[in-house]
C-alpha cells in the first residue's frame, strides 16, 4: 500500500507540475465564480419575480426547488460533456509519459510490482479529477443552498456518478496508453466511445430500423459491451430531479467494461518489454 501511495502522490505531483490539476481547478473556479456573479445580479430573485408575474403572489417552495434542480442539472450536464472531455484530454498523457524510455526502466528497477505502478497511476489520476469534480459540485451546491435555503442532497450524487464514469473512461485511456504510448490515440479512442454512447443508447429505435437480425445483434453487443456514458448521465439527472431510477444496468455494465479494460491494460503492462 505504501508503494501505491507513493505512486499516487507522484501522479498528483506530476498533475500539479504539468498544470493539469490547476487547469481543471481554474475551470471549476471560473464556473463557481460565474455562479456567484449570477447570484450577485440576483438572478434567483429575478426568476422568482418572473414566476410572480405569471400570476402567483409569491413563488411556492416547490417552484424554487424546481429552479434549483434545473440549475444543478445544467452543471451535471456540463460535467458529463465538456467536463468529461477536458478530464480525458488532460489525463491522456499520464500513462504514455510514464512509459518513456529511461523513465520506466528506472521505476521497474525499484522493488515495485508492475501492477502497483499502473494502479498508482490510475488511482492518482482518478483522484486528481475527483478533487476537481467535488470542488465544483460542492461549490455550486453551497452557493445555491446559501441563496435559496434549499439543500437537495441528490445533487451531491453527481460527484459519485461523474467520478464513476470518468474512472471507467480512464481505463480506456490507460489501456490505449499502455498499448500505443500515444496521448492523442488515448484521447481519440475515449472520445469516440463518449460520442458513440448516445447513439448506441437509441437501442429500441435501432432495433426497429435495422433490417437483419445479425446487425441487431451487433448493435446489442456493442450496446452491452461499451460504457454507457449517456445513460449514466441520464441516471444522474434522474437523481437530481428526484425521479425514480429503476434500471441500474448501465451502471454495472459500465463497471464490468471498466474492470475488463483495466485488467487488459494490466495484463499487457505485465508482459511488456521495456
Amino acid at each position: 500500500m505504501r508503494t501505491i501511495g507513493l505512486l499516487i502522490v507522484d501522479t498528483f505531483h506530476e498533475a500539479l507540475a504539468r498544470k493539469i490539476f490547476w487547469g481543471l481547478f481554474a475551470l471549476s473556479t471560473a464556473m463557481i465564480l460565474f455562479f456567484l456573479f449570477l447570484l450577485k445580479i440576483d438572478i434567483v430573485e429575478g426568476a422568482m419575480a418572473t414566476i410572480s408575474l405569471l400570476g402567483q403572489e409569491s413563488p411556492k417552495r416547490w417552484q424554487i426547488d424546481k429552479l434549483v434542480r434545473h440549475v444543478q442539472s445544467g452543471i451535471a450536464t456540463f460535467l458529463y460533456t465538456w467536463g468529461m472531455f477536458l478530464a480525458v484530454f488532460a489525463s491522456s498523457g499520464l500513462v504514455p509519459d510514464m512509459l518513456e524510455v529511461g523513465r520506466i526502466e528506472l521505476l521497474l528497477s525499484k522493488p515495485v510490482r508492475r501492477w502497483q505502478i499502473l494502479a498508482g497511476r490510475y488511482v492518482g489520476n482518478t483522484l486528481v479529477v475527483g478533487c476537481n469534480i467535488a470542488y465544483l459540485v460542492l461549490g455550486v451546491w453551497m452557493i445555491l443552498g446559501w441563496k435559496t435555503g434549499l439543500w437537495p442532497k441528490a445533487f451531491l450524487l453527481t460527484i459519485l456518478f461523474t467520478l464513476f464514469i470518468f474512472s471507467v473512461l480512464l481505463t480506456v485511456v490507460t489501456l490505449v496508453g499502455v498499448i500505443f504510448e500515444s496521448p492523442a490515440m488515448a484521447t481519440m479512442v475515449t472520445v469516440a466511445l463518449m460520442i458513440m454512447s448516445p447513439i448506441l443508447a437509441q437501442r429500441s429505435l435501432m432495433e426497429r430500423l435495422l433490417n437483419s437480425e445479425w446487425t441487431r445483434r451487433i448493435w446489442r453487443g456493442l450496446y452491452w459491451t461499451l460504457p454507457k456514458v449517456y445513460e449514466v448521465g441520464r441516471m444522474t439527472l434522474d437523481y437530481v430531479f428526484d425521479r425514480t431510477v429503476s434500471d441500474y444496468a448501465p451502471l454495472w455494465s459500465s463497471a464490468a467494461f471498466g474492470i475488463a479494460a483495466l485488467a487488459a491494460a494490466l495484463a499487457i503492462f505485465m508482459k511488456r518489454d521495456f
Binding site: 508503494t3 507513493l6 507522484d10 505531483h13 506530476e14 500539479l16 507540475a17 504539468r18 518513456e100 524510455v101 529511461g102 523513465r103 520506466i104 526502466e105 528506472l106 521505476l107 521497474l108 528497477s109 525499484k110 522493488p111 515495485v112 510490482r113 508482459k271 518489454d273 521495456f274
Partner: protein
C-alpha cells in the same frame, strides 16, 4: 547455500520477433555470466550487441525468452531482489517536475528507505556528486552532466550492494568523470559490486577489474583486465645496427620498424628481448629504451570483435 555472486545468469536468452514472426532477432543468446560480489565488472560490446537488453533482463524490465538470472541470490523477477540494487539507466529521462532533492527522495522511498534516512542521505549525496546548492532547483534547469551525476546519486541513495550503471559518464565533462571514478572507487573499497555497461573502454580499463565482451548476443571474451591486456611482450628502441644484425633480429622479433636511423623491435618474450640487447650492444648500437608492452583494452576489444566480423 548462498553463492558468492552478485549476478548469476544461466543461458539467459532474449529473442525478439516481429509481429508476424518473420523477423527474428536473438538480442541475447544464451549468456551465462557470474559476477563475484565486491567486484567492479565492465560489460563491453559494440552497438547492438545486446548489452542493454541483458541489463534490462537483470532488472526485469525485459522478460527473458529462456534462461534465468539471480541477483544477490534472488531470482531477478522477484521485486525484493531489486531492494539492494542501484541502477542508472542509459538515456535516463527523469521527470523534470522534480527538484534534485525531490527526485532523490521519491526514488529512495520507492526503494524502501525511511524518511529519516532519506533526509540525512540527500544532502550527503548531493555533496558527494558536487550538486550542493542545487537541491531545490527543478531538473529542467540541470545540464546533461548534472543530471548524470544526480542519476548516480539516485542509484546510491539506499547504499545498494549491487550497482548497475549503463554508460555512467555519458555527457559528463572530464572533471565530472574523474569525480565519478573516485566515487566508484570508494564504493568498491566498501565492497559494493559495480557492473558497468559502457562504450568508453579507457574508462572501463582504468576502473574495472574484470570485463566481458558481448558480441551478437554472446559473451565472446571474459577475463580480468590485467590478464587480457598483459603479455604482449617487450618493446626495444635503439639506433639502427648494420643490416646483417637487423636480419638476425628480424628472425626473433614479432615486429620491426626502422625509421630515421632508429629501430623499434617488438619481442614476445623476455629472453628474446635480452638476446637482442646483447646483439645490439655488440654491434655498437645505443639502446634508447626497453619497455614491457601491454595491450590496451581497446586493442583487445578491436581484435576480439574484429576477428568475429
Amino acid at each position: 547455500m548462498p553463492s558468492d555472486f552478485a549476478i548469476e545468469t544461466r543461458n539467459l536468452t532474449k529473442v525478439y520477433r516481429s509481429l508476424l514472426g518473420r523477423r527474428v532477432v536473438r538480442a541475447v543468446d544464451g549468456v551465462s555470466l557470474s559476477v563475484e560480489r565486491g567486484l567492479s565488472f565492465g560489460f563491453l560490446g559494440p552497438n547492438g550487441a545486446g548489452k542493454t537488453t541483458f541489463v534490462k533482463m537483470l532488472l526485469s524490465a525485459t522478460h527473458p525468452t529462456a534462461g534465468s538470472a539471480l541477483l544477490l541470490n534472488r531470482p531477478a523477477q522477484d521485486p525484493n531482489a531489486r531492494r539492494s540494487i542501484g541502477y542508472l539507466p542509459e538515456n535516463h529521462h527523469f521527470p523534470t517536475y522534480f527538484t534534485g532533492a525531490g527526485m532523490l527522495d521519491f526514488y529512495a522511498s520507492l526503494s524502501g528507505m525511511d524518511a529519516r534516512s532519506r533526509k540525512r542521505r540527500i544532502p550527503e549525496l548531493l555533496d558527494w556528486v558536487g550538486l550542493t546548492g542545487w537541491e531545490n532547483v527543478r531538473l529542467s534547469k540541470y545540464s546533461k552532466g548534472m543530471l548524470q551525476r544526480l542519476g548516480l546519486a539516485q542509484a546510491l541513495m539506499h547504499s545498494p550492494a549491487l550497482l548497475i550503471l549503463d554508460e555512467p559518464s555519458d555527457g559528463v565533462d572530464p572533471m565530472g568523470r574523474i569525480r565519478i571514478r573516485e566515487i566508484l572507487r570508494s564504493l568498491e573499497e566498501q565492497g559494493t559490486t559495480i557492473f558497468i555497461n559502457s562504450h568508453l573502454l579507457a574508462e572501463v580499463e582504468s576502473f574495472c577489474r574484470e570485463v566481458a565482451i558481448l558480441h551478437r548476443g554472446r559473451v565472446v571474451l571474459r577475463g580480468s583486465v590485467q590478464d587480457l591486456t598483459a603479455g604482449r611482450g617487450y618493446r626495444l628502441r635503439a639506433t639502427a645496427p648494420p643490416e646483417r644484425v637487423l636480419d638476425e633480429l628480424r628472425r626473433s622479433a614479432s615486429e620491426t620498424v626502422i625509421q630515421d636511423g632508429w629501430v623499434t623491435l617488438q619481442f614476445p618474450a623476455r629472453d628474446a628481448a635480452n638476446r637482442a640487447i646483447d646483439l645490439l650492444r655488440r654491434a655498437g648500437s645505443e639502446i634508447e629504451c626497453v619497455t614491457a608492452a601491454s595491450s590496451t583494452l581497446e586493442e583487445v576489444f578491436v581484435k576480439t570483435v574484429g576477428a568475429l566480423g
